[in-house]
């Protein structure tokens, strides 16, 4: 698991799934389409990503395509960091 994935995983577990075992979540666990993240928690996640990784999201980029799994989140953050 990359640094981005593990940082985001810790954040999601602590913030949105308190008490849940880390084993219950892997890099492809759906977060938005499963309902783990609702609109408010997705906005919280985005602000965490922006602060933690020094990136900026446009409104239309805050979407399931970009944020549904740890893999997608990592890919999105990576492309923003290097794009």
């Amino acid at each position: 698991m990359s640094e981005i994935q593990s940082t985001v995983k810790s954040y999601v577990l602590e913030e949105f799934l308190p008490g849940e075992s880390p084993d219950a979540m892997d890099n492809s666990t759906p977060l938005i389409s499963s309902g783990i993240l609702d609109s408010l928690s997705t906005i919280k996640l985005v602000s965490f990503l922006e602060e933690q990784f020094n990136v900026q999201f446009e409104a239309h980029e805050i979407s399931r395509e970009n944020l549904d799994t740890l893999d997608l989140i990592a890919a999105t953050v990576e492309s923003k960091r290097h794009g």
Binding site: E15, I32, S39, I43, K44, E58, A59, H60, S63
Partner: protein, 382 residues
């Protein structure tokens, strides 16, 4: 932490207060009775730049930072006695101008921001529908992609400025299954676009000089370039505009609360009963002490949130706390001042019952108090 204003902020506050007390104090009783929107005063406010306070000068605005915007709006609320006009300007600036400025394409900004900022255009924000208010993203209004643009179908309601607006910021579902995240798109629709019309106009308890109506979209074609900020971006764009609205409409309320305090002190010192001023009774003076405490606490939170609007990563929590505290304080204070005025407080010529009627909407629009508490609880991880 420095709580003092800069000389520029003091000058701005004084200038707006001088303008508002000179131009915006007369005629509110009659306009309230008749439900008349003051077009002429809207234009005067436009000449002062009120509708475009934070918009960059390059786009026709005043170019203020967010804290200075709040300071200017408090002065406006303090001097302006027409609560409907103040609300109409707040709704226009915060829910319409902000999304165009912060999320619109350069072309949209060039086309609309100068007119929106100088008072020559009036805008309306349309998200609420007859069957979805607090649950705004359960909207039924649809925008279907067609050659060169979209076709919008649906009915919006409780749209402030609806009957007088030249331009609407409209939220429609472009991918209904997705809802808030990626499913909603914000569009700009001009008055006169075929199929776009004003529906029922509402009579209401307060804010009677701010006209409010349904807006009907019957197979309205809008070109691709009328999309604000990308297809699917409507949810976060609306959220962002609500952050501004939940912080800067309360700034206007601070001014109203300050006016209420002045009126209460004056009445308590001059009205006599049982051979002494009514203010000599602690039942009255303690109520007024509470008005002062509420105002100062509300101002601190509002200014801190206003400053954070442009310095913090996200201000969703600050915005909900500010909106909740200030709106509930406003209603409480207005009710107290009517009580302090006794029978006179109930009569429209004393102009405090109108402030009470105008204030009640503040715990409903921009998200109800209950929804603010839900959001705050959500930020606390509950």
């Amino acid at each position: 932490m420095d709580f003092s204003f800069t000389p520029d902020q003091e000058a701005l506050r004084d200038q707006i207060l001088e303008f508002a007390t000179r131009e915006l104090t007369e005629g509110a009783i009659e306009r309230d009775r008749g439900g008349v929107f003051p077009h002429d005063l809207w234009e005067k406010c436009g000449e002062m730049g009120l509708q475009g306070l934070p918009v960059p000068e390059s786009h026709g605005g005043v170019g203020l930072d967010s804290l200075s915007t709040a300071i200017a709006l408090e002065a406006f609320g303090y001097g302006c006695r027409d609560g409907g006009l103040a609300f109409a300007i707040g709704a226009h600036l915060l829910a319409c101008v902000i999304p165009v400025w912060r999320h619109g394409s350069e072309e949209l900004k060039e086309r609309y921001l100068p007119g929106l900022s100088n008072g020559s255009l009036i805008a309306v924000n349309a998200i609420t529908e007859p069957d979805s208010g607090s649950d705004a993203f359960a909207m039924k209004t649809r925008a279907v992609s067609v050659e060169g643009g979209f076709r919008i179908d649906g009915t919006k309601t409780f749209a402030s400025n609806g009957p007088v607006a030249d331009l609407a910021v409209v939220y429609a579902a472009t991918d209904p299954d997705r809802g808030f995240l990626g499913g909603i798109t914000a569009f700009l629709v001009e008055k006169g676009t075929p199929g776009f019309s004003v529906g029922q106009k509402f009579e209401k308890m307060g804010l009677r000089t701010a006209p409010l109506s349904e807006l009907v979209f019957d197979d309205v074609f809008v070109p691709d370039d009328s999309v604000i900020g990308g297809v699917g971006g409507g949810g976060p764009i609306f959220n962002h505009s609500m952050e501004w609205e939940r912080i800067c409409l309360p700034a206007i309320h601070l001014g109203t609360m300050r006016h209420l305090l002045d009126r209460a002190v004056e009445q308590a010192r001059t009205r006599k009963a049982f051979g002494q001023s009514i203010g000599k009774n602690q039942a009255i003076s303690h109520r007024i002490a509470d008005l002062k405490v509420r105002l100062e606490a509300a101002r601190l939170l509002t200014y801190r949130s206003a400053e954070r609007l442009e310095t913090a990563g996200t201000v969703g929590l600050d915005a909900s706390m500010t909106k909740l505290l200030v709106s509930e304080s406003l209603v409480r204070s207005a009710l107290d001042v009517v009580q302090i005025f006794g029978g006179y407080g109930y009569m429209d010529e004393y102009e405090v019952e109108r402030i009470l009627r105008d204030s009640i909407g503040s715990t409903i629009y921009s998200g109800t108090s209950e929804m603010q508490r839900n959001i705050i609880a959500g930020w606390l991880g509950l």
